[in-house]
Amino acid sequence: MGELMDTILYRRSIRRFDTRQISEWELEQILKAGLFAPIAGGGQRPIFVVCQDREINERLGKIKRANSHPRMATAASYVSRQQPSIADDPNIKNAFYDAPTVITMFGPKNFLFTPEDCAVAAENMMLSADALGIGSCYIGQGWPAFDDPYGQEILRQWDIPGDYYAVSQLLLGYPRPGDSHPEAKPRRAGRVIRIGQESKGR
């Protein structure tokens, strides 16, 4: 347990990546962890498209940025100073932050648990990446990256079934050399509520 807990406590979103591609053996382990995440009713419906083509990733990331309308950070409210997001820095034009590997998770449109199936798979992959020293960032709302003629053409090239949609992206890459690991942000208090015979405050 110790090592899993260390990983869970250590993992942070990484948005500043090294240009080096991650190794094939590391990628395989991460993908396997994603495939072994829980899945509603054992359906195993989601598909993970692993794109390591820098041009495609950059163009999709720019479409995603153009179609995103984040509430911009203020002095008091921001996402990360050490690993700025598009909400923190208006000069970032690529919502995939030049990550060398971008995984887009697709799932069926007409299935209640598609978002959750993809989210638990992403969490397994993020923890696995961290355990291997690889940085990761989850990008919710995957479809805006394809909401443009170029994006539609990519969906055709990738042969995505018509009844599937892009749920989210997962960015992977080595953290940028020289960057220090982001500091832990304080946990908000009062998020656990205990009910029942073992009840006691926390």
Binding site: M5, L112, R188, V192
Partner: protein, 194 residues
């Protein structure tokens, strides 16, 4: 292969629980794992309600089963999930969709487009932590439907969870009763490389 990843691959849904309650120290570690899941923009606007009141858990579990079938004949809509850890879709005589688990968590998150992403990741951290600590766990959806009922809404209020939140999932926790289930084959073709 990395040892943590290797162990992650051996996690499976558990639905057969012993009746003894989960040790509090173990429960605290599991909850900490949940609190450290990522959240959209680091909002951390989520609540984990830990219910160890067996009467409440059974009532909720019965409503959860109802939401699966909604009065239809289970035979006409169920599909097999697990013979080793039977679900309500495998064994129609199971009336409690929370499988008499001694601890039932309900995870609420901030309303909005990321509510289910945030809730599912908290759930997954909890499932993994439980597995690494030797406990069994099962993720159950349809929590939104369960907490839209009159009974669910009453509990929601009594628990002091803010009204504007989204009930995303339940996680059942307990010690495993009987043998650990085997791995199921993975479907081919789910990874596409471009």
């Amino acid at each position: 292969m990395n040892e943590i990843i290797e162990k992650m691959l051996t996690r499976h849904a558990i639905r057969r629980f012993q009746q003894r309650q989960v040790d509090n120290e173990i429960l605290d570690q599991i909850l900490t794992a949940g609190l450290y899941a990522p959240s959209a923009g680091n909002n951390q606007y989520s609540r984990i309600v830990v219910c160890q009141d067996s009467e409440i858990n059974e009532k909720l579990g019965r409503i959860s089963r109802y939401m699966q079938f909604k009065g239809q004949d289970p035979k006409s809509i169920a599909h097999s999930i697990s013979s080793e850890q039977p679900s309500i879709q495998d064994d129609f005589t199971i009336m409690n969709g929370f499988y008499n688990a001694p601890t039932v968590l309900t995870i609420f998150t901030r309303d909005g487009v990321y509510a289910h992403d945030d809730g599912a990741m908290i759930g997954e951290n909890i499932l993994l932590a439980a597995h690494f600590l030797g406990l069994g766990a099962c993720y159950v959806g349809r929590t939104g439907e369960v907490f839209a009922t009159e009974y669910g809404r009453t509990l929601w209020k009594a628990w002091g969870v803010p009204e504007d939140m989204v009930p995303v999932c339940n996680v059942l926790l307990g010690y495993i009763d009987g043998p650990f289930p085997h791995e199921k084959p993975r479907r081919e073709g789910r990874i596409v490389r471009v």
